[in-house]
């Protein structure tokens, strides 16, 4: 276990992949939280290839009662959702979210990173403090990078817990995202006659935001709000 201190240990042969698969299985089984590849690597013997082991494991559990699911850049076992009916006892009663909270959440998810003013612009009504607080408390949203515009407003983005809760691998898998984008409904279109230069805000950013990631599946699917801050 002193390998960390002695990088030379990595020269020792890593365990066979079947054994690595067992290890990943044990680690993922032991926790309710998704575990990142990086953390897996940190806990497995040196030279292990958790990504490869995961691929095997994922395949092994296909169609089983539990599934290996991807949540952001982390992995977890979750029961197959067709078996949810067996788990009445385990069902967690979540506080019912207000319509305002649900819409605010959706706006953050689809428009992230998004400022409070932008949320208000989309909903046409001011966002009450409690709404944001509730979503923060649920850990479904978090603060993104400040927007580099006058006043440097904070932005909000969705979290890995959000993805986990809604069974999403990445924010780009949000339902209807592509259609919304195609319809231009995710454009940050400022009202005509407003001071903002129109080109700056628009669709280019949104397209980049989601398309950038589509082909490299190893990328953290939780969109890095840093990329889009303008």
């Amino acid at each position: 276990m002193t390998e960390a201190a002695e990088p030379r240990e990595s020269l020792f042969e890593a365990p066979p992949i079947a054994e690595q698969e067992r290890m990943v299985e044990a680690i993922l089984f032991a926790t309710a939280e998704p575990v990142s590849i990086r953390e897996l690597a940190g806990r497995m013997p040196h030279g292990s290839d958790p990504a490869e082991a995961l691929a095997h494991l994922r395949k092994r559990y296909e169609g089983r009662g539990v599934q290996v699911v991807k949540v952001g850049d982390a992995w977890a076992f979750r029961t197959a959702s067709d078996l949810g009916f067996l788990m009445q006892k385990e069902t967690v009663e979540t506080r019912k979210l207000s319509r305002a909270a649900i819409e605010t959440l959706a706006i953050i998810a689809y428009h992230q990173p998004v400022t409070r003013a932008e949320i208000e612009e989309i909903r046409g009504v001011s966002v009450s403090r409690g709404t944001i607080d509730q979503l923060l408390e649920l850990e479904w949203i978090r603060l993104g990078r400040r927007r580099m515009t006058p006043g440097r407003p904070v932005t909000f983005v969705v979290t890995e817990a959000f993805l986990d809760h809604f069974g999403l691998e990445a924010a780009r898998d949000l339902p209807g995202l592509k259609e919304l984008r195609a319809a231009g409904l995710l454009d940050n279109r400022p009202p005509p006659g407003s001071e903002l230069p129109e080109e700056e805000a628009g669709d280019d950013h949104q397209i980049t935001m989601f398309d950038d990631n589509t082909d490299d599946s190893e990328d953290p699917p939780v969109i890095d709000p840093e990329d889009e801050a303008d």
Binding site: A5, R78, G84, F166, L185, P192
Partner: protein, 260 residues
């Protein structure tokens, strides 16, 4: 047929009344506009913004009649829509600055469509299989015990330096005279007190050194220093006088008042 027309008319009236009564139920003017837009029963993209503006203004008018107090933002929206309506109805004035009525209308339509889209995806999002409701995480989790292991390390260089340091400390320890090579000032003073009575004439300080302390340089140095210090002490007591011809010349002493 007449029934259905009648029904529709009633339904519309009921809806219109509901709009007014439920004004608190709307999430702002945009939400209200969206609801009104739906009564046009057309694709939001084909909505008549002019009609919509008129619907909204009519709504506000009716609310006033019923003495329903509308929040300020509903009234702001009403004012804006009145302005939009005039823009849309009047022929464009080329000298006028700012966006055209069509541009403003298009943006309003966009806002409504976007709000509707967000509502739709909200519903789709909430209808997804959800953790803790449709799928579940591990029930019995095993705590990962965090073992903090501290390993100490040292290199051979550390080891050698440490040893070097210890041995060097030995070599360069503050120099201490070994006892048998040190003449203390007390010894010198004792000796001088006994001899000073005989120093009537100027005599070289060195002649007062003990006989056996003049050979070995170490001993001579010590004896010289101690004897010199002792003469200074005696001079302070007023018992001897000292003189030196020049720098590094022999130091001479004699009993004070010997000539007096």
């Amino acid at each position: 047929m007449t029934d259905s027309i009648f029904d529709t008319a009633v339904a519309d009236r009921v809806a219109a009344e509901a709009l007014i009564v439920d004004v608190d139920g709307y999430e702002g003017p945009l939400d209200l506009l969206l609801t009104l837009a739906r009564t046009q029963k057309v694709d939001l993209r084909k909505i008549s913004v002019l009609n919509l503006a008129e619907q909204y203004l009519a709504f506000v008018e009716k609310a006033k009649q019923l003495r329903i107090e509308l929040a300020a933002d509903y009234l702001v929206m009403a004012a804006w829509l009145a302005f939009l309506k005039s823009r849309l109805l009047l022929p464009p004035d080329p000298t006028e600055e700012g966006p055209s009525g069509e541009e403003l209308a298009a943006h309003l339509a966009f806002q409504l469509e976007r709000l509707q889209a967000m509502r739709d995806v909200s519903a789709r999002l909430m209808a997804r299989d959800r953790l803790g409701r449709d799928f579940f995480a591990r029930g019995i989790t095993e705590d990962v015990t965090r073992v903090r292991k501290v390993t100490y390390t040292a290199t051979i260089l550390d080891l050698m330096q440490a040893y070097a340091r210890i041995r060097t400390k030995d070599e360069f320890r503050p120099f201490v005279f070994d006892r048998d090579s040190v003449l203390t000032m007390e010894q010198a003073l004792d000796r001088l007190r006994g001899m000073i009575g005989y120093a009537g004439e100027w005599a070289d300080l060195m002649s007062f050194l003990p006989q056996d302390w003049t050979g070995d340089p170490t001993r001579r140095r010590s004896a010289t220093a101690a004897t010199f210090a002792a003469t200074l002490e005696l001079a302070k007591e007023g018992k001897v006088e000292l003189r030196q011809g020049e720098t590094f010349a022999p130091i001479q002493i004699r009993q004070k008042g010997a000539r007096a």
